[in-house]
């Protein structure tokens, strides 16, 4: 990601969402990551939807903190985020973390995965897979060229962007069809499948790719609904 941080790498910063900051992490959920990272944002949005208190321990990618021995012990692929639950259980991969939080803290805050009906759960899984198959890699590719590469002093490959945009546009045409008969990707309930789109979707808008959503009425409506949720607004305010 290469975002510069004003904090020196020798002093980890603990930021909490709404309680006074503390360096004592026992009994607290700890997220290791960076507020600007899309994957970290997925986890923060989930935590806030569930009303869970947490501390954010900054892992500064530019300073290579993700490749330190202690971090690699937590996350052997050296990517962010990772999460320590209150009992010290460690888990990584943002979508896995979100799913775990939903399972563990089922009765807190917003219900993010429908339970109790196998067909409804199946359609949730279908929607979660749609995000991975037809949105994530294209959105990530565009945003990498148009935002992250630039931040590292490189120039975007606009031919690559055009190709990715064309493919994403075709997929969003299908999203528009699906969302013409239901409010959210999995059905009529907001779920993690929608939430997972928020970080990269917001970055697409930031780099001027509005047309992808604006030109598709049902996608536009869905995007407005999910991006104005309080939890997402809170995450954006933190960045």
């Amino acid at each position: 990601m290469g975002c510069s941080s004003s904090v020196s790498s020798s002093q980890p910063v603990h930021r909490t969402n709404n309680i006074q900051s503390s360096y004592d992490t026992r009994g607290t959920i700890v997220v290791y990551g960076m507020i600007q990272s899309p994957a970290t944002q997925r986890v923060l949005a989930t935590l806030i939807e569930k009303g869970l208190k947490f501390q954010l321990k900054v892992i500064n990618l530019k300073a290579g903190e993700n490749l330190s021995r202690s971090y690699l012990e937590k996350q052997p692929f050296g990517t962010i985020p990772a999460l320590d639950d209150v009992d010290g259980f460690t888990i990584y991969e943002s979508r896995a973390i979100s799913r775990y939080l939903e399972m563990k803290y089922k009765d807190k805050g917003t219900e993010l995965i429908p339970k109790g009906n196998i067909k409804v759960e199946g359609l949730f899984e279908q929607a979660a897979s749609i995000e991975l198959s037809y949105f994530d890699s294209y959105a990530n590719g565009i945003v990498t060229e148009r935002i992250f590469k630039k931040m590292r002093g490189g120039e975007p490959d606009m031919n690559k962007v055009a190709e990715l945009r064309r493919d994403l546009a075709k997929n969003l045409d299908v999203y528009d069809q699906i969302l013409s008969t239901q409010s959210y990707l999995a059905g009529n309930m907001f779920t993690l499948a929608d939430l997972f789109h928020l970080p990269l979707g917001s970055l697409l808008l930031k780099c001027g790719e509005d047309e992808l959503f604006e030109s598709r009425p049902h996608v536009k409506q869905w995007w407005n609904k999910i991006s104005t949720r309080q939890a997402w607004k809170t995450v954006q305010a933190m960045a």
Partner: protein
């Protein structure tokens, strides 16, 4: 009405679903979709089966339709929980969390590179989309090597990606991994002792052997 799968026996994604059905001991009917003739892109298929125009699609005994191979497999495990092999942990939230972590590892660190190499070296030519892009292949190889070095570490401590038991997270690797081996790229697995053991263990499962025999 038996479970119906729309796809082909050689499609990597269809193979995930067939392997799962066999692991669960579920009878099914495979209805072949003519990919070479572009049947999956016809308006009828898009309207009735899968709006993104790909295979597989599953229609359950009661007519319930679901697509996306990994979603289908998870659904089958949920619906037919007590039957055949258990493919996801039950009830234990930590074990489920580690399963989700393993399932995400397959999607983040394996699939993009393996399917990328297989597309460039095999499917691209078959679809008449041009010659393999050697620069892309070199990049995929570099990435895959780095990621499988981490697999090696993980699998040195436990027999399967999610822990002690075989799960869907391991199963999802089979079909593209097989294509890689058939393209003489098996060195990715062979050169890493724990990855090699894991690969041998999961590929020798009878369910996978049966799926290979269908192709």
């Amino acid at each position: 009405m038996p479970i119906k799968v729309y796809g082909t026996p050689t499609s990597t994604c269809t193979q995930r679903v067939l392997t799962t059905l066999i692991e669960k001991g579920l009878p099914y009917e495979l209805i072949k979709v003519n990919l070479a003739a572009g049947e999956q892109k016809t308006q009828e298929y898009l309207d009735e089966k899968q709006p993104f125009g790909v295979v597989p699609v599953l229609i359950d005994e009661d007519g319930f339709k679901i697509y996306e191979s990994r979603a289908i497999c998870r659904y089958l495990e949920l619906k037919y929980k007590g039957k055949g092999t258990e493919l996801m942990p039950t009830n234990d939230v930590k074990a489920l969390g580690l399963f989700e972590q393993a399932a995400s590892i397959e999607m983040s660190y394996y699939d993009p590179y393996v399917s990328g190499i297989v597309f460039e070296r095999l499917f691209k030519g078959m679809k008449g989309l041009g010659d393999p892009d050697e620069a892309k292949i070199a990049l995929y190889r570099e990435q895959l090597n780095a990621k499988l070095d981490v697999y090696e570490k993980i699998l040195s401590k436990q027999p399967y990606l999610a822990g002690q038991d075989f799960t869907l997270a391991d199963l999802f690797h089979l079909s593209y991994g097989n294509r890689l081996v058939k393209l003489n790229e098996g060195h990715f697995f062979e050169s890493r002792p724990h990855v090699k053991d894991w690969w041998n263990r999961i590929t020798s499962r009878p369910s996978w052997q049966q799926v290979l025999a269908l192709a």
